[in-house]
Symmetry: C2
């Protein structure tokens, strides 16, 4: 199969990049084809700017969503964006490797999402999303390097539960365009890894061996019959009586 | 009082910038001093890079957290970061105005957080955070432009509840450094604002008039006695029996 790894750490010898390389080795040993977008090494430009839409008429105000929709019919995007889209469309699975900075991806990776997920790629003019969309049939997974202790990210942890903190990424940035999203690979206490490094490498290798068999996170599909089509809300018979955060968006 | 507004939209005539200007006018009419960081106009550099740490020894691998801690004693940061820190330290309140792109801030604003929240500013070597920290005594608020309908972000909405989606920002990026965080100002269906524009402007003006009196979101302070200090988890007598997302992190 074909795998794209998108990584985002400024230090070539960082844990993020070391574990990315472990993943590459394992995937290649298993016969997969691997391509890498090392965003820092590529000096990827992360800001959505007017120049991203070469067909936008002079003097026309930039409304990014509208401009993206207009550009999508002829793929009138910049070459750096087209190159990344080509890699994603080529891949059967996409892996994102990054350090958790301020409870999200580093800016350079947010910019990859902001720019590469154009109309026709990240979202569809038809409105297909969450279980449908251009990335349908592909898998995605995030590998996250976390400085803090695991208990700080537990159900009662002071930072909030990690799967909820990552939900805007796993559900919002990946399930939305249609990926089947695998459970996140989380490495905690990265500044005190010491004796655990080999164990973590083993975990990465295991997750790579199982990349195409691991059951994805059971998010509810938008067109799966659970949501009111007009309101985009769970039907009354499914919705919980009291608010429960993101929990209702998983299939029981 | 003194107010800093940080805004992030590439189009000068965008709704984000229009409402930012409405906020500025109201604040100034009420006698407040206002400064603005328009990140696109400033061409703010959003990526944490090696050059952010001028004192880092040649050949020393870049570990951003460690480098930031080492640099913090002498504020050995780059001038663009120091300039933003000076504005934040000057302000009594900081407002962030941005469009919701992929369920988070635009990359350029994520980069402002990644780079400006250095050790000594965003986080303390002493570990003080969540209700304590360098931003203690200051207020923060986000103004978010959202393309979708409100029902899509409700308790049963297909995107997830908006306050939970924004939690990594309000709690993670703002309450963590010590800000009292006000309820978010949310503008939905921004592509179909039509007859609602005046009403939205009124809401912005109202929120500005009440900026220093609106009760903040009642997040639980880390040192407020609710958390086990070692584990960073809610004490057993406070923790809910079943997982409830971010809900337990609010004071009842």
């Amino acid at each position: 199969m074909k795998v794209l790894i998108v990584s985002a750490h400024p230090e070539p010898s960082s844990l993020t990049n070391a574990l990315r390389n472990v993943a590459i080795s394992q995937l290649e040993a298993d016969g997969h084809e691997v391509r890498v977008s090392d965003l820092y090494a590529m000096n990827f430009q992360p800001c959505v700017v007017r120049e991203d839409f070469p067909a936008l008429a002079e003097g026309e105000p930039l409304r990014p969503t509208v401009a993206s929709m207009q550009a999508s019919a002829t793929s009138a995007f910049t070459q750096d964006v087209l190159d990344e889209q080509e890699k994603v469309l080529w891949a059967d699975a996409v892996i994102f490797a990054f350090p958790l900075w301020w409870f999200s991806v580093p800016a350079i990776m947010k910019g990859w999402i902001d720019r590469v997920w154009t109309a026709g790629i990240g979202y569809q003019l038809s409105g297909e999303r969450y279980g449908a969309g251009r990335m349908s049939g592909k898998r995605a997974m995030i590998m996250v390097m976390i400085g803090g202790r695991e208990t700080y990210f537990s159900a009662g942890g002071v930072n909030g539960p990690i799967d909820d903190l990552l939900f805007p990424i796993t559900h919002g940035m990946l399930y939305y365009p249609g990926f089947a999203v695998l459970p996140s690979l989380l490495v905690y206490r990265t500044h005190h890894l010491d004796g655990r490094y080999d164990e973590v490498c083993d975990e990465v290798r295991g997750r790579m061996r199982d990349l195409f068999t691991t059951p994805p996170i059971p998010f509810r599909a938008q067109a799966g019959g659970d949501f009111d089509e007009q309101l985009g809300e769970l039907k009354p018979e499914i919705a919980p009586a009291t608010p429960q955060g993101f929990a209702p968006l998983y299939k029981p």
